[in-house]
Subunit: 203 residues, 2 copies
């Protein structure tokens, strides 16, 4: 599930990516300088160019590492057999875990959706999203044959993701409490909503 896992000749190349990922997640491509990355790694800026030819390539390699293997877990959860209701439950649980457990990945995903050029988005779609998305559309068809599977698959993902996306501002809204940021609570809420909407054993 590698986009292009090459480019990093050795261990230092991997360390650079590992340190760069949280920086890019927090501040975006233009908000992080090569000096920032070098400082985080503990080497000088010039040394970075021994491992990556320029900032763009370093960023692409960091993205590849950040997105690697993320899709497999989702696809596996959706396709793991059982009734459609069970597969839906597993999808919501796994996807919520993923978003809650890897904030850098989530931020990079949102940044790519905002900033990604055509080439990067096509790469992302073909090498990361296609497999879990197709599994999700098949699940959508099993759950609601009368519903557009593409639209439903997107809705299932957005329903989970938006709760995390809005977390930093929800704390300033009335009635907000820390339980609303609890991944288990979010998963429970989303699953209940989807179960009712799709007519599977509404609680």
């Amino acid at each position: 599930m590698s986009i292009d896992s090459a480019s990093a000749s050795n261990a230092t190349g991997q360390i650079i990516l590992t340190r760069a990922i949280p920086l890019f997640a927090r501040s975006g491509f233009t908000g992080v300088s090569m000096r920032d990355i070098a400082r985080a790694v503990g080497i000088t800026q010039a040394a970075l160019y021994h491992h990556y030819p320029d900032k763009q390539r370093l960023y692409l390699a960091a993205m590849a590492q950040a997105f690697a293997d993320k899709a497999d877990g989702i696809a596996a959860a959706v396709e793991s057999g059982g009734t459609p209701a069970e597969r839906l439950q597993r999808f919501v649980a796994r996807f919520t875990e993923l978003m809650a457990g890897d904030p850098d990945f989530r931020a990079l995903l949102q940044r790519e959706l905002l900033d990604g050029d055509e080439v990067r988005l096509r790469l992302l779609a073909e090498q990361v999203f296609v497999q879990p998305f197709q599994a999700m559309t098949r699940l959508a068809q099993d759950l609601a044959p009368d519903c557009d599977p593409h639209l439903l698959a997107i809705s299932m993902a957005g329903l989970v993701l938006f709760h995390f996306e809005t977390a930093p501002v929800r704390r300033f809204l009335p009635g907000g409490s820390q339980t609303h940021d609890d991944p288990a609570e979010v998963a429970r809420h989303v699953l209940r909503l989807l179960s009712r909407a799709l007519g599977v054993e509404g609680d």
Copy 2:
């Protein structure tokens, strides 16, 4: 509904904001230079400093303009009377129109959720989001008294927004068609999903 609509002494000040908004929406704060803005306006970079003391203030004023009056329409739609089902239908329609009709606003919203510091997010919450959000939580309570209104209000918004957020990558996914980007189709799908989930006159 102004965050801080001052700072722009005259007409040029407003023109600057109008030209800066799409630039910030596309490339973010660090991705846009004062020279870029000046070029878009048709003046030199130095002239910008006659209207705004620095880049931060210019950005804040642009945000204030971009977010001004956006909330009123949503709150009005949710509170416009009628049955809860009718209010839900009006919310989905109005919110979808807003997101589809003002891509710059949508991008800036997502950027603020990603990049916004505590001060900006608090300001945004208190001066823009509180009113429509409270209206949405009241609607949520009327629709589903057994459901956490905070969680449900967030879900209602996320369900709409994510379809637009993913538009640039969905075109590379199998089974995608331009009908999935049609605001009317998105609204129809989301309303049907929510109506079923909340038990109001399933289609």
